[in-house]
């Protein structure tokens, strides 16, 4: 698994105060990827002004994010990278995003015929140089119809996406997933989520490098966002 040698920019992770968020942010294997962790009630415009990337961890309650909707969109409009993770109801605060909730598939490894139902949208996507596909499989929570201009990284077999990326606004960039690895990792549950974060976060930092370098496509018609 290749990783860039150095990371540019300033990434702020938002903290809603749940125990699993803290245990994820303070895990010595993961903490180097967060330049700053900001408790949501302490978030100010100054934080967003100094941030190049803002990460919204899985299971951050949407009612805590809604007051920051305009500021986060402005942050993206000005070239910020926004990383939005699962169970945060982004369709209620970020942007129109067709979302189909799915019953949590707690037992997919016991009922193998159902399977995790996921597949890479493109085997050659550079995320899979960081994350083994097998480590993308734990629970499903929601499926998204791919918005125009975005590309899917992980698909449900229905064709809907659980992990996607693409330009947000004129200058910004969005990475969005309905998966919730931080919740499970920080709850000391589901080893795949630990492995997933170990690759996903360096890949996010690679995207931030690319965003700062102007290497990501911001053309609305762009379909190749593999970063190759």
């Amino acid at each position: 698994m290749s990783q860039p040698l150095s990371y540019s920019g300033h990434m702020i992770a938002l903290d809603a105060g749940a125990a699993y968020h803290h245990f994820t942010f303070t895990d010595p294997a993961l903490s180097p990827f967060f330049d700053e962790v900001v408790y949501l009630d302490d978030l100010t415009e100054a934080h967003l002004q100094r941030a190049d990337a803002v990460l919204v961890p899985c299971r951050t309650p949407a009612h805590r994010l809604l007051p920051w909707r305009d500021d986060l969109l402005r942050f993206a409009e000005q070239g910020g990278l926004l990383v939005v993770m699962g169970e945060t109801q982004p369709d209620s605060w970020l942007m129109p995003l067709p979302t189909e909730p799915v019953a949590t598939n707690y037992w997919w490894w016991l009922t193998a015929e159902d399977g995790p139902e996921l597949q890479p949208a493109d085997d050659n996507h550079d995320l899979f140089q960081y994350v083994a596909f097998a480590d993308c499989r734990w629970h499903l929570h929601a499926l998204h119809t791919l918005p125009e201009g975005f590309c899917s990284i992980l698909n449900h077999r229905s064709g809907q996406s659980v992990l996607l990326e693409g330009p947000l606004g004129r200058e910004g960039y969005l990475i969005l997933t309905s998966l919730d690895p931080m919740y499970h990792h920080g709850s000391f549950f589901m080893p795949a989520t630990t492995a997933f974060l170990g690759g996903f976060l360096p890949w996010v930092r690679k995207r931030l490098n690319q965003q700062i370098e102007g290497a990501l496509q911001h053309d609305d018609t762009a379909t190749d966002c593999s970063g190759k």
Binding site: H22, R64, W107, F188
Partner: protein
């Protein structure tokens, strides 16, 4: 005649789900969603127990610790679910995960008979569909004087996932260092049993005093 509803406060950084409200209602429990700063006015006669959910904003609880202490000093019962990352009281120490999380280390052993687990076998806490770990993956260290209720692994006394602590200054904690105890079970019947036990125990604890409430 149906029993009257027992109203409990629930702090979990979000609304009470319809399914939980419905299941609680069948056990004559009503949940009121509270915010941590509500502890500054919550009255123990109106809410004899306040439940902290495993998704709660613990930083807010730390900042509202004066309200928590105020509620406890009235004789309030706090039922805490989840790992402690941010402790609102000096007696509550951060979560200690099990060093090994294999079946042997996630097996739940009952250390003391407790009314919350009446008609709930330890196996039902250990397994969901044969998978262990849902009940807890570690423990929040108990303060001196706490009573271990359930433990994990081959040395369950050293890993008490559940304990009861009558706070010397007033009030009491029931600590469950895992997923929310009232939603853990797959079976509707088992969830109902736990909710009925919760109602009976909270009422006994409130009406008869904490020591009597501990007698099964």
């Amino acid at each position: 005649m149906n029993p009257s509803y027992l109203m409990l406060g629930l702090i979990q950084d979000g609304p009470v789900s319809g399914s939980l409200q419905q299941e609680a209602s069948a056990a004559f429990i009503g949940f009121d969603a509270l915010q941590p700063d509500d502890l500054n006015w919550v009255n123990v006669t109106d809410w004899p127990a306040v439940i902290i959910g495993s998704h709660a904003d613990q930083i807010a609880l730390v900042r509202q610790r004066a309200g928590l202490v105020r509620y406890l000093n009235q004789g309030g019962l706090v039922i805490w679910n989840g790992a402690i990352a941010h402790s609102p009281l000096p007696e509550l120490l951060p979560f200690v995960p099990m060093p090994v999380r294999t079946l042997a280390y996630l097996t739940v052993t009952q250390l003391k008979v407790h009314p919350l687990f009446s008609q709930v076998p330890a196996e039902a806490l250990t397994y969901r569909k044969g998978v262990a770990g849902f009940w807890g993956r570690g423990h929040n260290p108990p303060p001196p004087g706490a009573t271990p209720v359930n433990g994990l692994g081959p040395q369950p006394e050293e890993h008490p996932v559940d304990w009861y602590w009558a706070r010397p200054q007033g009030g009491a904690f029931f600590m469950h260092a895992g997923n929310d105890l009232f939603t853990f079970a797959d079976s509707t019947e088992l969830r109902h049993t736990v909710l009925e036990n919760l109602r009976n125990w909270v009422l006994a604890h409130h009406n008869e005093g904490r020591l009597e409430g501990e007698i099964s």
